[in-house]
Structures are given as structure tokens and as C-alpha cells.
Amino acid sequence: MKKTSTFLAVAALLSSTAVVSAETLKWARAGDALTLDPHSQNEGPSHTMRHQMYEPLIIRDTSGAFVPTLATDWAPSADNPNVWVFNLREGVKFHDGADFTAEDVVFSFERAKQPNSDMKELIGSITAVRAVGDHTVEIETDGPNPILPSNLTNLFMMDKGWTEANNTVNVQDFEGGEITYATTNVNGTGAYRLVSREPDVKTVMVRNEEYWGRNDFPMEVSKIVYTPIQNAATRVAALLSGEVNFLQDMPVQDLARVDGTDGLTVKQAPQNRVIFFGMNQGADDLEADNVDGKNPLADVRVRKAMSMAINRDAIRQVVMRGQSQPAGMIAPPFVNGWTAAMDGESSTDLEGAKALMAEAGYGEGFSIRLDCPNDRYINDEPICQAAVGMLGQIGITVNLDAIPKAQHFPKITDSKTDFYMLGWGVPTYDSEYIFNFLVHGRESDIGTWNGTGFNNADVNAKIKSLASNTDLDARNADIAAIWRVVQDEQLYVPIHHQVLNWGMSDSVGIEVDPEDQPRVKYFTMK
């Protein structure tokens, strides 16, 4: 009896630290931010961390619509088509108490255009940023730029005075191993302040009581403890045991388990990422096939047949356990240019596919290698395995080569693959971004991810003209026309839109953001 009570006492003592403090968000995901410098490393987890402490002029809500943040409103200038005018929020203070003014915006843009900045490509069209009074800025571009605001949602504002005083005007030289004041310290306008940070181990933030939107947002989390946990099983165990109450990067196989656990919920939303196969139609002969002197993928009938052989519903049910949305075009649903009609254009028709193959002269089939990553997308390798079986039904013998992403992606950019898997997210929410990288013929600074060899002068010219077309109706008509070509050419075989899952305890209230960017100021805590 005595033994039992000692045992219970020890158990109680050991479990006492597991008691959850209601306002602390204990947050885990697979990876950590690479740096805190706002203009270095244009990368998801780094932006997520910055979004809690720094702010851009504009952010997007979960539907993709713009939300005024440090800018209250913005519009193209009436006098000059190359200029956008942004009115800034008044009364905003940085964490150190300094006022946020137009001068800081000008400074931040200049900093983000430096050679070491990772954000410079997104604002490459900007030629000048001018302060017009304390709370207005004019941004001039090298031509009319109708979608400029889309490129500013991850462009964070720094305080000019603080940055200069701490010798951190230059963006860190990341590859050179430079550590600056801004890589380890934060002075933003955001809803949370940095308390401590150990890279890859733990980052702690506390609520900024002087935040300009203190009363406009829930801001019920008073303290954030962010821990990267790499191993998927450990990550889920931490959520199940209550050591963590908010989890990103949920493994698909554990969704049902977590959702079925008392006190835990899984929330989901379609993610801003579409998964598809690319086919090299440009080469005269393929290296990775068994057809000599000809390229079967150059025949649009073969590409159509391949798309018709893929059973997207089966992939959704069996491979993805329901966590995907079959796709008919390679644009995520909230992107400008996406249409439900085109997204529904892919259908499974084995007989039709076989007929097309025979018509193209490949009734006997052929063999080809499929290159696939095994550590990049949700269930990437199993999707490819499923595709191998499906394509086998129309006589295409597929040899699967599934390798880590660090080896897979160079194959696409170096044209070392004829048939490959790729996923694409669209940070600007506009089709132009997709066309620039995936449809325009490959050149050194455009079409860099287009491994299909497709290079159509008309389409290229249309894509280039999108950048400066201010007539939005005409621009949208061009976008629709380009999509029609992409669809009719079956440039890619779309598979599905990924679904994003966040796991959380019932006390945490937040809706899933399609860009996987939780902003803690929106969180409610019970």
C-alpha cells in the first residue's frame, strides 16, 4: 500500500509540468526559420516566424483576399500609370517605441533590393520608392504593374533608425555565414516580440501589448513557444501528450488518430499547391524510353492518353486517404485565371486512352522512366507508384525512380528528365506566376521550371505582355487564352490540389491558411 502511494506521488510529480497554461501557444512543425533577417531567405517557415513579429504593408486572409496591414489603402496613381500610391497606417510603433513612417517604408524597400536580399526578384520591377509626407509612399515601376500589391505580402517593414543604429543596414550575407544584429534580434511592428531564440531548438515570443491592432484582433495568445520537431511520429506524440497544442505538417496517416482523440481537432483547407506530372515533348528522341528515333511524348494524343489513364479519385481515396482534391489544371483554386470548368477537364477513360495510343501509333505501348521526389510533397512516392500501375493499363511500362528532393529538382532544371513529378504554389495568386515559370519557353531568367521543352513564340509573347497590361479585363482574357493552349496541348498531367492539415487542441481556435502561414494574432484560446 505504501509502495503504491509513493508510486502515485512520483507519478503526480512527474506529470505536474504537463499542465497546460491556457494562453501559451505551444507550437511545433517540422522545420525552423533559417534566419530572422526579414529580407534574407524567401522561404515558408522563415516567413511564418517573421509574420508574428514583423509586418508587410498588406497580408492575405484565408480566402486569398488582401487585408490592409501597415498600409490602409492603395491604388494606382491617377497621374502616372507606372506609380502605385500607398497610404500608411498612422499611430503604429515599432517594438522599441519608434514611430512607423513613410521613411521606414522607403528604407525597407531599398534594403530589400540589395544584392544579398532574397526578396529582390519579387520587387524587381520597382524603380523608385518615394515618401510623400509622413504617411504616404509612391512606388514607381519600370512599366505599368497591375499586380504589384501581390508581390508585397511577404515584404516586411523595418525601422530605419534601429537598423542604422545597430549596423545592420545591409542584408546578411547568408552564404558567407554572416551574422548581423538583424539575424538574431527583431524590432518589428508585429503583434509579438522576440524573447529568445535558439536556432533549430526553440523560439519564444510574447504578446506586444502596444500593438496597433491590440483591440481589433483576438490576440488571446500571450506567449508563443515554437519548437521544430522533425520526426513525424514524435511530432504527433507531442500533440497527443499535450506538450504541444498546435501542430503544422501533420502526417496524413495520423489524421484520423489525432482527430479521434478527445480534446484534439484536425482542421483542413485546400492548400496553395498543385501536384502534376511534366512530360518532355521538346526532344527529338528521349533517353529514358525504349523508342528509337522518335519521342512518343511529342504526340499530343499520347499526352492526352496518359492523362486519361490516371484515376485521380483512386489516388485521392487510396493514396491520400481523402486528403486531396483531384485537379484538371495546374493552378490552385484561388488563383486568378483558375476556372471550375478547366479544373474539371481531367477524366479517367481507359478505353479512350487505349484508342488514342493506337491512333498515335503506340498501340503496343512503350517504356519510360518516371522521376519522382520522395521527401517533398505529401505521399509523393506512393502517388508515383499508383501512376505506374495506372499507366501500365494502357501499355506504358513505367520505371519509377524515386529519390530525395535535393537530387530530384536539379534533374528538372538541368533537363535531365523526360517524365517527372512537380508541385507548384502561387504566392502572387495570379496565373502570370505559373506561366512565367512553367509555360514560357526555357531561358536563363524565365521558364526556369519548364522542363517540357514547350516553347511557343505566340504564347511566350502573350505571357510577357501580361506584366504590364493594366486593362484587367483584356489581361484576364489573355490569361484564359493561354490556359486554353496549356489545356489543349496537355502540357502537364494534373493530379491533385494538396489539402493542408493543422492539428490543435480544442482550446485553440484558428482556421487553416492555404499558404500554411498561421498568424498568431488571429488565434483564440479557450
Binding site: E43, E175, G176, I179, K202, Q230, A238, P404, A406, T448
Partner: protein
């Protein structure tokens, strides 16, 4: 004696250089680091500029020579993933791994010897049979599975111990320790058991078989005949004589504990060198991989060298044949 040691040192240097060369030629197969370092918006110029800047456009032997040259001056380069000096990152991560390894080693040695002696003395008892059967688990189950099972039992089901991380650590100079806080100590328990279990069963089985061997010797029988107590026989006479081979194995296994902490650290998100190395492989962080592999090979080479030299002291025959 001196020629023998010099010859051994020379051989060790050769092993190091060869290990490094093999490691460097393997890095090309891990993937292209550039791809992870630049976002999807990069242009071909960006790629080429960065490749030239990192020296990755040069042939492998040139890269290796540059690495050796700089490493000899104590410069291990800059991590591609974290953008910080590799030597600084390694110094920051080493305490976590060393504390974990030390605790696992203590656990393995103490429990191994105690259980080994127990199962040897009570060789026919039920408890001894049970321990021997259970020890098969330690030998045959892979480390990650043991780790996951322990997490499931003690963190998820019972909620007693944390499933990841080091808990609160206290900084003393350049060292961080988890030994001084309650959460730090609790965080050590599961990973230390996971990491030390294999070594513990190994030591236990070794002690048991050595002990059984010794207990059959004539001098033990004579000791019994003299009427010495069982305790004196077992611990003063028998155990002492079983320790010679056991100490050798323990020495060699200590290196293995540090080197093989990789899996345990990944399962428990233990912020040590093993986790650093796994991250480096996934990101193709060549400077970190190179520094870690060289560090581990130096460690093993030094341990082996010391063992060789010690043997030479103990066994004169080795000295003779070395001449």
C-alpha cells in the same frame, strides 16, 4: 616502442585522409545544395553565381584539398542551411550529445554489470531467465522503434515524461546543461535509455558469460573450500577477473554511443550533433557533413590508437612483432 607508436600514428593519419576522400566523393550523390539554398524564383545566373561562390564548380579533389587545408587551420566553413560558422554550430550542439552519451554510458555500464552479475549468480532463477529473454529485445529491436515505444508509453499514455527536446537548459560558459533543472533531467531519461539499451544488453551478456567462465575456475572452487563468503567470492575474486575484456568493450562502445546517437536524437528531437548531421544530409549541407564525418573519424581513430598503444604496453609480444 616509439617506432611502433609512430607507425600507428602514421597509419591513423592515412585512415583519416582516406575516410575524408570517400566522404567527399559521396557528397555528389546526396544532391545539389544550390537547389535548397535558392527559392523557386531563382534564375540561372543566380545558380551559377552561387555555385562559383561556394566553390562547387571545382572538381571534387580540389574541393577536398581546400577543405583539408582550411580544416587544418581550424576553419570548417559556413553551414549552407544556417548561414553560420560550422565550428560554432558544432560547439553549440556538442554539449547536448555529450551529456546524453555520458548518461547512456553510465546507464549501460552500471545496469549492464549489475544485471550481468545477477544473471550469472542466479543463473537458474526465474528472474535471471526473464532478464535474459527480455535482453533479447534490447539487442534485436531497432533503436527508433524502442524510442517510439517509450514515447508512446511514457509520454502519450502515462504523460510522465516529455517526448521531445532537452527541457530547460542552463548555460555555464560555452556549455549548456540539462542536469540542473527538473525538466532537463526528465527530458534525459527516455533518450538515454533508448541510446544505452543496446550497449547495456551487450555488456550484460558479456559480463554474464565471462562471469560464468570465471566461476568454473579452480581458484573459485578453492575459495569456496576455504569457506569464504559468497559475496567475497563473487565480487572480490570473480568480478574483478571478468573486468579485463569488459573494459575493452566498454571503451570501444563509448565511441559508438556518440556516433550512433543520430537515430535517438532524431526520434526525440534532441538538439545534438546527430540531429545536426541528419538535417545536413537532407539539406545537402556539405560543410556540416564534412566536419561531422571528420570529427567522428578522428574520434574513432584516436580511440583505436589508444587501445592499440595500451595493448602494446600490456602485451610485450605485440611490441616484438612490430619491430
Amino acid at each position: 616502442m616509439l617506432p611502433f607508436i609512430l607507425k600507428r600514428v602514421f597509419q591513423s593519419m592515412l585512415v583519416l585522409v582516406v575516410t575524408g576522400a570517400i566522404a567527399f566523393s559521396m557528397f555528389t550523390f546526396v544532391g545539389d545544395p544550390i537547389d535548397n539554398m535558392l527559392g523557386q524564383e531563382r534564375t540561372m545566373e543566380d545558380v551559377e553565381r552561387l555555385r562559383a561562390r561556394l566553390g562547387l564548380d571545382k572538381p571534387i579533389p580540389v574541393q577536398y584539398f581546400k577543405f583539408l587545408n582550411e580544416a587544418a587551420q581550424g576553419n570548417f566553413g559556413v553551414s549552407y542551411r544556417q548561414g553560420r560558422e560550422v565550428s560554432e554550430i558544432i560547439m553549440e550542439r556538442a554539449p547536448a550529445t555529450l551529456e546524453l552519451a555520458a548518461l547512456s554510458a553510465i546507464f549501460a555500464v552500471v545496469m549492464g554489470i549489475v544485471l550481468g552479475v545477477f544473471t550469472a549468480i542466479r543463473r537458474d532463477g526465474f528472474a535471471a531467465h526473464f532478464i535474459m529473454s527480455a535482453s533479447l529485445i534490447g539487442v534485436s529491436l531497432p533503436t527508433f522503434l524502442i524510442g517510439i515505444l517509450l514515447i508512446y508509453l511514457f509520454s502519450v499514455e502515462l504523460g510522465w515524461l516529455p517526448s521531445f527536446g532537452r527541457g530547460e537548459v542552463i548555460k555555464i560558459g560555452g556549455w549548456t546543461t540539462g542536469f540542473l533543472t527538473e525538466s532537463g533531467l526528465k527530458a534525459l531519461i527516455l533518450p538515454a535509455i533508448t541510446l544505452g539499451l543496446y550497449q547495456m544488453t551487450l555488456i550484460m551478456r558479456l559480463v554474464r558469460s565471462e562471469m560464468l567462465e570465471v566461476l568454473r575456475q579452480d581458484y573459485i572452487r578453492f575459495a569456496r573450500a576455504r569457506g569464504l563468503s559468497e559475496r567475497v567470492i563473487n565480487f572480490r575474486h570473480a568480478l574483478k577477473n571478468t573486468m579485463v575484456p569488459v573494459v575493452t568493450v566498454i571503451g570501444l562502445q563509448l565511441g559508438a554511443i556518440i556516433a550512433f546517437a543520430i537515430i535517438t536524437e532524431t526520434v526525440f528531437q534532441w538538439p545534438g550533433l546527430g540531429l545536426l548531421f541528419i538535417n545536413a544530409i537532407q539539406f545537402v549541407d556539405i560543410p556540416v557533413m564534412a566536419a561531422y564525418l571528420m570529427m567522428i573519424s578522428v574520434m574513432f581513430v584516436v580511440i583505436n590508437l589508444l587501445v592499440d598503444i595500451l595493448y602494446a604496453f600490456i602485451d610485450p609480444r605485440l611490441r616484438v612483432s612490430a619491430k
